[in-house]
């Protein structure tokens, strides 16, 4: 049974958001709701309106507010610091990973995202 019921996906590409949503479902998770945001600012807006979100999957390279800035902000706020975060990125072993790891990000998943790459970070039994 899925531990994550309300998942926020943050990515400026609708294609990417759809792929991530589908991959999460293919991992066997059955969230009640997927929330979508195009950038960090939109994501902060959704987080301010909903206290139910229990997982965030965010891209790094986005307009208006990038993923790094977004993660720094939410990890420094009492109301959002404990929400698990998975980062997606087209760049492998990027220079932002050590900082993200210190902030407690679950994993950095390299794009293209696949169910196999999400299984571990989501804590799903294979």
């Amino acid at each position: 049974m899925s531990a994550y019921k309300h998942i926020l996906i943050v990515d400026d590409s609708p294609t990417s958001r759809m792929i991530i949503e589908r991959c999460v479902q293919m991992c066997g998770l059955e969230p009640q709701h997927f929330y979508h945001a195009e950038n960090g600012i939109d994501a902060l807006g959704i987080l301010s309106e909903s206290t139910e979100i229990d997982l965030i999957i965010t891209d790094i390279n986005m307009p208006k507010m990038d993923g790094q800035t977004f993660v720094r902000l939410i990890k420094n706020r009492d109301e959002t610091r404990t929400i698990p975060v998975i980062i997606t990125s087209s760049i492998a072993d990027s220079s932002f990973e050590p900082e993200m790891s210190k902030l407690g990000v679950l994993a950095v998943v390299k794009k293209p995202v696949s169910p196999e790459k999400l299984v571990g970070p989501l804590g799903v039994e294979q």
Partner: protein, 157 residues
């Protein structure tokens, strides 16, 4: 320190990245194009471009037919209404470019490289005036031409 940009290495890596990304995302085979065919004027093409900031300063552009993009959309969005799918071809191309660019740079420069990309964008009017092509690869993706061009390469140091 000034490195020499290795064009042959870059071309090979770029080909491999295109093949890998199209296989993983769209389950399509991308092979080096051996035909002398050039893009046909009567076939609508979509072009997307991304500026690379570090460690190279350059531009990567991809060009393919709208038909191929639509096929990719059909695969990715197999359970989506046609009216919604119609709008997604361009975004799909942008996301392909984003991933290809990231993989190419990660493969070319190796682990730990400080890589920074701009956001990908669509190109509606070609302006080659100030571009110096460093590498161009032409791929055959299910009988459609897929061209990637790396241009205006400068090292930041």
């Amino acid at each position: 320190m000034k490195d020499t940009f290795q064009r042959e290495k870059a071309a090979q890596i770029l080909q491999e990245c295109i093949s890998s990304v199209l296989a993983d995302m769209a389950f399509m085979d991308a092979l080096p194009n051996t035909s002398p065919e050039t893009p046909q004027d009567n076939k609508e093409r979509l072009n997307a471009s991304i500026d690379i900031l570090t460690p190279l300063s350059c531009n990567l552009e991809i060009s393919t037919s709208r038909l191929l993009c639509k096929r990719i959309v059909d695969i990715l969005y197999f359970d989506t209404e046609e009216t919604i799918k119609h709008k997604l071809a361009e975004d799909t191309l942008l996301e392909l470019l984003n991933i290809i660019a990231g993989q190419f740079l990660s493969s070319y420069f190796g682990q730990g490289a400080d890589i920074q990309l701009e956001l990908p964008r669509l190109v509606y009017i070609q302006d080659d005036r100030n571009k110096e092509t460093a590498v161009q690869v032409s791929m055959n993706v299910e009988e459609e031409l897929f061209i990637a061009t790396l241009s205006s390469v400068r090292y930041r140091y």
